[in-house]
Symmetry: D2
Subunit: 344 residues, 4 copies
C-alpha cells in the first residue's frame, strides 16, 4: 500500500527477487490508481523492477486488497489515512507490516526493530484483530537512535539529546519546496520531535504482563531539515549512569550484533552499526553506503566523544531514512516474524 | 589587520562613517599587500566604501602599523599568526580589539560581549602590556550562545547542549570546497566544539581578585557545517536548577537588554535577542535581518520549548557569524571601551 | 489578482507607497480567500507593507472586483484561469495590466515593455472591450532578452540563440520540489521555449495597420531550471547583419535609455541595462541589485564577446524574474499608460 | 601522473583489474609524494582499489618514472606543468596518453576519440619523439559535443552553439569555493570556451598530408559553472546544410556505433550515445548512469528538437566529466592504440 511514493518505491525495489516474499499487488491513492506501475516516476535509483512494471496500480481499499488473497501487507501509507485501513486489514485476518505512524503508539502494537527489541513482537498476542495483526517500524530518525542506543543500554542510559539534520526525501516526493530549503535550514519538522521522544522510549522499554513499560530515560529532540537528498544525520548525546570511555563506547557499537544477524535474515546487515574512522564522518552524501554489500541497512556512526569524564557520550550517526528508516525496516520485521513462525 | 578576508571586509563595511572610529590603514598578508583596497574581491554585499577604496593594503607587520600613529587596532587575523603581532602591538602601547582566537583563553584577556559580561573589561588591568591591552570577542558560534544564556543565568543554568548548523562563510573565503558541501553536511569543524565549551564558560564566569572563575555549568557542543552561506543556526538545550515555562523563557529573552543598550552604543542593536514567532524559524537564509534597522547584531531565537516540566529549556538561535559573531562584536567592544573611558 | 503568490507579493511590495496607484483590494484563489492578507506567508523579503496587512483577501471573481470600484486591475494570475476573468474585467470597462500569459499572443493585445516597444500600446485601440482593455507584459525570461536586444536591433538582428539558467522562484511558491533540483539541473520548463521564441519576435515587431508584424529573425531557445533562488541568467548569442565589435556592443547596451527614462516613470530604472565589468559576472546570487538604488528593474549584462568577426555577439544577462520579469514590468506598463493618458 | 586528484583517482579506479594495463607506479606533486596511496582522500566513490593502496606516491619527475620501466604513461596533470614532462617522456621513448590540455593543439598531436576520429591516431607518425609519442583526449565538455556531432556530420554541420552547465568536480578537488557556487551560477570558466571552439573543430577535421584540416563549421561556446557535483550538461544547437527532422536526428544518434564498439574495446560503452525519452532529461544527478552496466562512458542525449524546418537541431547532452570527459577517454585511447598495434 502506498506503492508509488518514495518509501513505496523502496519497498518495491527491496522486494524484487526477495527470497521470502513476492509482490502480487500494488496500491496507491486514486490519483495513481488505474495506471500501470511502469508509469511511476521512479526516483529511488536504478530502474523499476521488471516484476513491478506490469502490475496495475490499484486503489488502496480493503476489498481491492482482499481480492488478491495475499499472505501479508506492507504499508507505506501516509499517517492520516493508514489508521482505518490497516486496522481493517488486520481484522480481516492479515498481518500488516506498517511504516505508517498511525498505530505506533497503540498500547497493543509493537514498534519493532529486531536488533533492538525482538521480544516486543509478542505484544501482538494482546491485539484483538483475530488472525491478523499490526507490526510497525519506527519513524526514520528513531531507527538510527535506537540502534545506536541499544548496545549502550547496559550502561544505564539516563538522558538522550538528539539533534537532527534531515534530508528532504524524508518529507516525501514534493514535501519540501526548493524555495524553502536551498541554502537554508528549516528548524522544524511537524511531529518529529515528539515521535523521537515517544517512540524511542517505547522501543527501548520492557515488555511485561502484556504491556510495554517505556524506558525511563528522558529524550529531548530538536529537528531540522537541511538541503541534503537522502540520509538523516543526527547528533546524539547520551548521559550514562555507568560512565565509559569514548573508545569503549566505539568498540561496543562496532561489536554490536543481534537477533537478525544470528538468524541470517535476508535484509539484515552484517553489522547494524558501522563506526567510521574519518575525523569528519559520517556525511550524508558520502556515507550512506560503504560499498557494494552495504544496502543502506547499517547505521553509520562517527566522532564518538566522551565529556564530563565519560558521563556523557556524544556521537554523530547517519541513517538511510527511506531504507533502514522505512521500507527496509518493515521488510526486516516481516522476515523476523517469519523466522519466529508468526507468519507462515 | 586582516582587512581583505570576509571578516576584514565586514570591519571595513561597518566602520564606514562610524561616529567614533576612522579607518586610516589596512593590512593583510603579503599576498594582498601592495595593492589598492579597491582591487579586493568584495564578497560581503554592496560596494567597497569610498573611504577604503583609495587605501593601500599594507603587510601585517608591527612597524607598518606603528608608522600610522593609530589610536587602536582591529584584528581579523587568522588564529595562527595573531598571537605574536597582537601582543607586540599591545606592548607598543596600542589597544587591540581582536576577533582572533589566539589570546582568548589567556588568563588576563577578557572575551568581552558588553551585553553579557561588561565588567570583564576590568581584566585588562591585570595585563602587563603597559599602555596597550588586548580585548577579544568570542568565537562566532559562542556569541549566539552567551547572548541567549545571559538572561537565563539567574535560573541556575546547569548544563548546556549546543548543536550547530554553521554556514560556509565561517570558514573564510575558500574554507569549504563546494565538492565537500553541496547536498551534504560535514559533522566536524576543527577546534569549534572546544571553543564553544571553553569560551562560553569563561564569558559567563565571574571576575574577582583579578581573575575569572568560569561558570560552573557543563557545555557539550557538537558542530557541523551545512550548505548555507551566512548565519550559524544553533540548537540549544539548557538544564535549569530553577525550572521555568517556555513562555517565561521566551519573555525573558525578549525583554533582555543590557549595558550597550543603556549606553546607546552606535553598533548596539535595540534588542540583543529577537524572538521570532513563526513555528519554523529562525532560518539562516530568511532571518539574518528582520528589516532595514536590523544590521545583523541581534541574535534571532525561535521554537522555545520546555521539557521535563521546565527543567530543560530548548530553542534554536541564529547568529550572523561574520557580524555579531566577528567584526560587529569587536567594534561593539571598542565602543564600549570608549564609553567606559578605557580608550580616549 | 493573485495577490498571495510570489508575483502577487512583489506587486504588493512594489505598490506600497506608489505615487500613482493605491491598493484597495486583493484577490486570490478560494484557498486564501477570506483571510487577512497579514496571514500570507511572505517570501519576497522584508515585511508585509502595513497598507496590505489589514486587507481581506477576496476570491478572484468578477463581482468581487467590480464591487471595489477600482480604476485598474493588476493580474498575477496563473495562465490557466486568467483568460476569462481578464477578458470579463476588460469588458466591464477596466484596464487590466496582466503578467499572465493567457492573452499575450492575442492579435489585439500588446506585450508591452516601454523601453522596447512603447508604441505597441496603441494596439489596444483595436480591442473591442469597450472602455476596458488588456495590456500584458512578457514572460520573465523574455523581458531580459528584449531589453538586451532592443539597442542592437539597428544592427540587423538575424538569429537569436537563448539558453537559460532559471531560478526556482520562477515556478512559483511550490513549483519545484527540492528532491528534483538539489545539486541538479532540469533541462525543461513547460512552454518556456515557445514563449521566448514567440513573445520576443512579437515584441520586437512592427505595429502597422492595427496589427503587429513579428520581427523577422529566428529565435531558438533552450531552457533549464537550476538551483538558484531568484534571477534568471541567460546566455544569448545574436547574429547581426551589420557586424560590430564586442566593445561597441557593450557601449551600445550601456548607453541605452528609452521612453520610461525620458518620462521619469517612478518604477523606471536609471539604466535599463547595466553592463558589469567583472570577468565572471553577472551571477544570480550576487548581481540582482548593484546597490540601494537598484530595485531589480535593471537587466545586468556581462561577458560581451564577438565571434566570427563580429557577426556573432554573445553575452550573458541576468534579469530579476519576479520584478523586471513580472510585477515590476506590469507596474511600469501602467505608469506608462498613465503618462500617455491611456488611463486617467 | 597526477594520481591523487579527481581525474587521477578515476584513472586508478578504472584501471583496477583492467585486462590490458597494470598500474605499477603513481606520481603526484611534491605535496603528496612520499605518502602511501592509501592515505589519499578518496572522492570518486567506493573504496581505493587494493592494488593501489600499497603503492608509494612518487614525485612527478622524469627519472622517477623511467626507473619503473613502464610501457606507457597516463597523464592527469594540470595543464601548466604537463607540457615539459609529457614531451620528455615521449622523447624518452614512452607512449603518453594525456588528459592534459598542454599538447592538444600541437600540430602533430591528435586529440583522439576513437568513436569520432580513430584515423587521427596516424598523426603520431609525424611526431619526432622517436619511439615515444603523445596522444591526448579532449577537454571534458568537448568530449560530449564531438560524440553527439559525429553521427550528424554527414548532414553538413555548419554552425554549432554550445552552452554549458558544468559541475564543480570539473574544477578539481578545491577548484570552486562553496561561497561562490551555493545557489549561484558563475558564467565563466577560464579558457573553456576557446577549448570547445578549437578542439571540436580539430577533432572533427580531416587528416591528410600529415596534418589536420579543422572542420569548417563555426563553434560558439558559452560556459558556466553550476552547483552540481558530477556531469556536464550542455545545450547544443546545430545548423545543418541538409535539414532533418528531430525524429531522424534522434534515431541517428541512437543507432550510432563506431570503431571501439566493433573492436569490443574493454572500456567502450555498448552505445556511445544513449537517447533518453523523458521530457525533462538528461539531468546531472539522475542520468550519469542508466544502470549497473553503464560505467559513465556513454553520453546521454535528450530533448532533441528541430527548429526552422529542421535547419536547426537542438538538444541537451550530459557527459560524465571525469570519466568520458577525462580518465575514461584516455584509457579508451590506449586500448584503441593497442588494438591498432601502435603499442604492444
Amino acid at each position: 500500500m502506498g506503492a508509488t511514493g518514495i518509501v513505496g518505491q523502496q519497498f518495491v525495489r527491496l522486494l524484487d527477487e526477495h527470497p521470502y516474499f513476492e509482490v502480487v499487488g500494488l496500491t496507491a491513492s486514486d490519483r495513481s490508481a488505474g495506471k500501470m506501475y511502469s508509469s511511476t516516476e521512479w526516483v529511488v535509483g536504478g530502474q523499476i523492477p521488471d516484476m513491478a512494471k506490469g502490475l496495475l496500480v490499484e486503489e488502496t481499499r480493503l476489498e481491492t486488497i482482499l481480492r488478491h488473497d495475499v499472505d501479508l501487507v506492507f504499508s507505506a501509507l501516509p499517517g492520516g489515512i493508514a489508521y482505518d485501513i490497516e486496522a481493517a486489514l488486520a481484522r480481516a485476518g492479515l498481518p500488516v507490516f506498517s511504516n505508517a505512524s498511525a498505530h505506533r503508539m497503540d498500547r497493543d502494537v509493537p514498534i519493532l526493530c529486531p536488533e533492538v527489541n525482538s521480544q516486543h513482537i509478542d505484544l501482538i498476542q494482546t491485539q484483538d484483530y483475530g488472525e491478523g495483526f499490526i507490526v510497525t517500524n519506527s519513524n526514520c530518525s528513531v531507527s538510527g537512535v535506537v540502534l545506536a542506543l541499544s548496545p549502550l543500554m547496559s550502561y544505564d542510559v539516563r538522558d538522550v539529546f538528539v539533534t537532527t539534520y534531515q534530508a528532504v526525501s524524508g518529507a516525501g516526493r514534493h514535501g519540501v519546496a526548493s524555495l524553502d530549503i536551498l541554502s537554508n535550514v528549516i528548524p522544524y519538522i511537524a511531529k518529529e520531535e515528539e515521535k523521537i521522544e515517544n517512540e524511542s522510549r517505547k522501543m527501548l522499554g520492557q515488555l511485561g504482563d502484556g504491556m510495554i513499560q517505556p524506558a525511563e530515560f528522558d529524550v529531548c529532540a530538536s529537528c531540522a531539515r537541511v538541503p541534503t537528498i537522502n540520509g538523516h544525520l543526527e547528533s546524539v548525546v547520551v548521559r550514562l549512569g555507568r560512565p565509559i570511555t569514548a573508545q569503549d563506547a566505539e568498540e561496543i557499537m562496532r561489536q554490536f550484533t543481534s537477533v537478525p544477524q544470528r538468524l541470517h535474515l535476508p535484509t539484515a546487515p552484517e553489522r547494524p552499526l558501522i563506526v567510521l574512522s574519518g575525523s569528519d564522518r559520517p556525511q550524508p552524501r558520502r556515507d550512506l553506503s560503504t560499498g557494494p554489500g552495504d544496502t543502506g541497512m547499517s547505521v553509520k556512526v562517527g566522532r564518538v566523544r566522551e565529556k564530563c569524564n565519560g558521563e556523557l557520550i556524544a556521537f554523530f550517526l547517519l541513517v538511510h531514512n527511506t531504507i533502514r528508516g522505512a521500507a527496509g525496516a518493515a521488510i526486516l520485521n516481516a522476515e523476523f516474524a517469519k523466522a519466529r513462525g508468526v507468519i507462515p
